[in-house]
Amino acid sequence: MATSETAVSGVGPLAEQEHEGTYAGGLWSWLTTVDHKRIGILYFVTGFLFLLIAGVEGELIRLQLARPENRLLDPEFYNQLFTMHGTTMVFFAGMPLIVAAFNIVVPLQIGARDVAFPRLNAFSYWVFLFAGVFLYASFFFGGAPDGGWFAYTPLTSKQYSPGTGIDFYVLALLLGGIGTIAGGVNFLVTIINMRAPGVRLMRMPLFTWMTFVTSVLILLAFPPLTVGLAFMLFDRMFDTVFFNAAAGGDPLLWQHLFWVFGHPEVYILILPAFGIVSDVIPTFSKKPLFGYPVVVFSGVLIAFLGFGVWVHHMFATGLGPIVNAVFGGATMLIAIPTGVKIFNWIATMWGGSLRFHPAMLFAVGLVATFVVGGISGVMHSSPPADLQQTDTYFVVAHFHYVLIGGTVFGLFSGFYYWFSKVTGRLLHEGLGKWHFWLTFLALNVTFFPMHFSGLLGQPRRTFTYAEGLGLETYNLISTIGALLFVVAFVPLIANLLYAWRRGGPAGPNPWDASTLEWTMSSPPPHYNFAVIPEVEARDPLWVRYDRETAPGEDVGARPLLQPEVPPKPVHMPSPSFWPLVLSVGLLIATIGFLTGLVVNLIGVGVTLIGLYGWAFEPAD
């Protein structure tokens, strides 16, 4: 393993001179930061906390289901728990952790000093944070939402859900959606406009590529959700009848709008994970990605097809044979580009020299477990087969294999890969391996039995099941597996403590990786690149390796490594508190829907002040 002794950390003297106090500590510096790395850290920490909260909710669900006719939790609370578990995992844990990776990695991978709109980036984070906190406030004001993360009408109408829980759900997702869409725009523009010379589209690292594709998905998928949520808000608060069948509305309209968003959302959650492993596997195989253009375009194709398959969530709603046949066929098509990715990852490892660093273990774990989730996905792409599988634990098994075996494994792979870049410290590899194997075990012990319990007749979203159904053993095993997830977290936490107290310096490129984020010190200086790099190949660091250094020579000494001090002054965006003001304004306006028009108006006022302050803020 080649490491460099010339590692530098912190900011070069010239930058300090230019931007005195930019990286000063203290709360104010975090509240006003527009630095993509710091915003990435904020996203990571917040998303991780939500992951823990939603994880506890999942554990409670499993404890309740440990035995039949259990009376540990009452059904009202159970229904709140599975609603909040799903909603949190998707919107407030999965997506923010992915956006954390976008923030930390993308500018570094394309040779940029920040994202295209740094203040908008900060705004996205604050809005997400406030939306999450607002959603959880529901527990203290009359109960959390209990309509499921999918919030099907008419159960979520005022008539059948008169409390405020559903209002919290609708408003939190509307508020959070603003930040998400802003983030999508930001990364799209960043990747199109901010690439360093020579970073052509077909030279971009796969993670950046998948960020690009995901940003397009966000831009196209969130508007239908926003429209649906607005309809729901109007139905609940202003007595409109969009979803009211008795008055000429249609409850299926919500399902269409929700899943036109909801299915692409699945790819929003998985494609970045695919991007991460597409970067990690070559690094730890010491071999370039096999079939780069095919892997890129299969990702694009998955995203494209993802908009034409939403009805597979609705095969039992009675839309007729033609619709079911078309959407079933379209769903099956997605298996092809997904399979192509799997084969290209295996081909990348074939003939390589595989080093099983924890990042690599999680990447390989993704390949192995995503196959299971992918295959069960093909099983319910067949509409008649799905008539038995939909809304049962078989589907619960399927999407947890995809979301844990795919998204979470991908994110952990990225965590072990880029942690050292962000912090400058090395994690303990042994603890990382324990973390992987325990998580892998927990995943399979928890979710594999659910294939059986589902096919044997256990529907989803049920707070209990009858004793005579023969489901006792499967459910008990699942609960034991769920407790293993708790055990699996211990080595992760221990590893963070280890890195904090004893982790050795990482150096610029601890894994001998090939992409631009490994050319500067760890952690990177505020300005990322002292000199904007010029790139001449897909794996810029390895090309120089091939050309200029003999095998075994110190990689850190290669010419592409960034100088410690910028030769010319670097201009960086100034911190700003206006994004925070604007977000607070939107939060107050949102709260107004529950408390009264005056609060709405105050919120709008603060929002306008924030907008003006932002617009007229001097550039320096």
Binding site: A245, K287, F290, G328, R355, V378, M379, S382, P384, L469
Partner: protein, 333 residues
């Protein structure tokens, strides 16, 4: 009276036999007992074996790769290989062909199961309500709840609709799911192969007690079905025993009468389940409890404890009154 007892006995024994031969999974999709469920199961089994094949091949190649190319000491840097067009075409085409092999039987099955049955011998109307099921057979003038009999070997069409929120009608051994959508009528049909008690359950989340919205479909041989129909078409029997007669009085003078219907009596409520023949049902509270005197008494005394959020209110009755009521209800065979 005697032939009714014989019927119940037959059903119980039939159910026991079924449990014995099909494992103890009364709600399993893997043990089909109708033409419809068998079609779904055959399709599923075909896809399942393709899936097993793909799983074994892909995981096998993966594990072999991981072992063969694990890092060794003093290894040369691996040769960079950027791709191979032939391989890319191969692993695009092979999965595509497998999918075609899955898609053809899929589409064939879709055009059978998503269409009305070739001919239906009997039509049952299913109305889902939070959290119980109403079954109507208009052609036979039958209204009942949470349990319906169907004849073996005859095609039964279920027209499903909802009175409130979304529900899904699912009796896995006989048919797949069909959602009950307000403002629409959906359809499902099957021909049961064998006599037996088949468990069903709501499969679309419908609120607080969604988990407690079960039902039973009892497939019976022709003669047994006919006698069930004849019995269901009669109005409620007048209570004979003293306890039951007192119970009828309790029923008619309390809130019960406002929500439940007992044909042939002044009780004509339509909010709750029809109780004209409640004594002959195998379960109460929509498949939640076995229909025993103890359970029925519990249900009357603590309906919210047994099924939280349901619309049956607590009615203040003395223990004696409850016992009388139970005697009356169970006499309604």
């Amino acid at each position: 009276m005697n032939d009714r007892k014989a019927l119940v006995l037959t059903l119980v024994l039939g159910a026991a036999a079924l449990q014995a031969c099909g494992g103890d999974y009364p709600q399993s999709a893997l043990h089909p007992q109708s033409d419809f469920a068998t079609r779904l199961d055959e399709l599923f089994r075909g896809i399942f074996w393709w899936a097993v094949g793909v799983f074994v091949v892909v995981e096998g190649i993966l594990i072999a790769t991981l072992f063969r190319y694990r890092e060794k000491r003093r290894q040369e840097r691996p040769k960079p290989i950027h791709g191979h067009t032939g391989l890319e075409i191969g692993w695009t085409l092979v999965p595509a062909l497998i999918l075609v092999a899955i898609a053809i039987p899929t589409v064939r099955t879709i055009f059978v199961v998503d269409r009305p049955p070739p001919e239906a011998d009997l039509t049952v109307e299913v109305i889902g309500k939070q959290w119980w099921w109403e079954f109507q057979i208009p052609e036979l003038d039958i209204v009942t709840a949470n349990e319906v009999h169907v004849p073996v070997g005859r095609t039964v069409e279920f027209r499903v609709r909802s009175a409130d929120v979304l529900h899904s009608f699912w009796v896995p051994r006989l048919g797949g799911k069909r959602d009950l959508v307000p403002g629409r009528e959906n359809m499902l049909w099957f021909t049961a192969d064998t006599a037996g008690v088949f468990w069903g359950q709501c499969a679309e989340y419908c609120g607080t007690s969604h988990a407690l919205m079960s039902f039973r479909i009892i497939a019976a041989q022709e003669a047994d079905f006919e006698s069930w129909v004849a019995r269901m078409q009669e109005p409620a029997v007048a209570p004979q025993e003293q306890m039951a007669r007192l119970g009828a009085g309790v029923f008619m003078s309390n809130a019960c009468v406002g929500c439940h219907r007992i044909e042939g009596t002044p009780a004509q409520g339509i909010v709750g389940p029809d109780l004209t023949h409640v004594g002959s049902r195998t379960t109460i509270a929509a498949g939640v409890l076995e229909n025993t005197p103890e359970n029925l008494a519990r249900w009357i005394k603590t309906p919210q404890e047994i099924k939280p959020g349901n619309y049956m209110p607590y009615v203040a009755l003395t223990d004696e009154q409850v016992d009388q009521l139970v005697a009356y209800l169970l006499s309604l065979k």
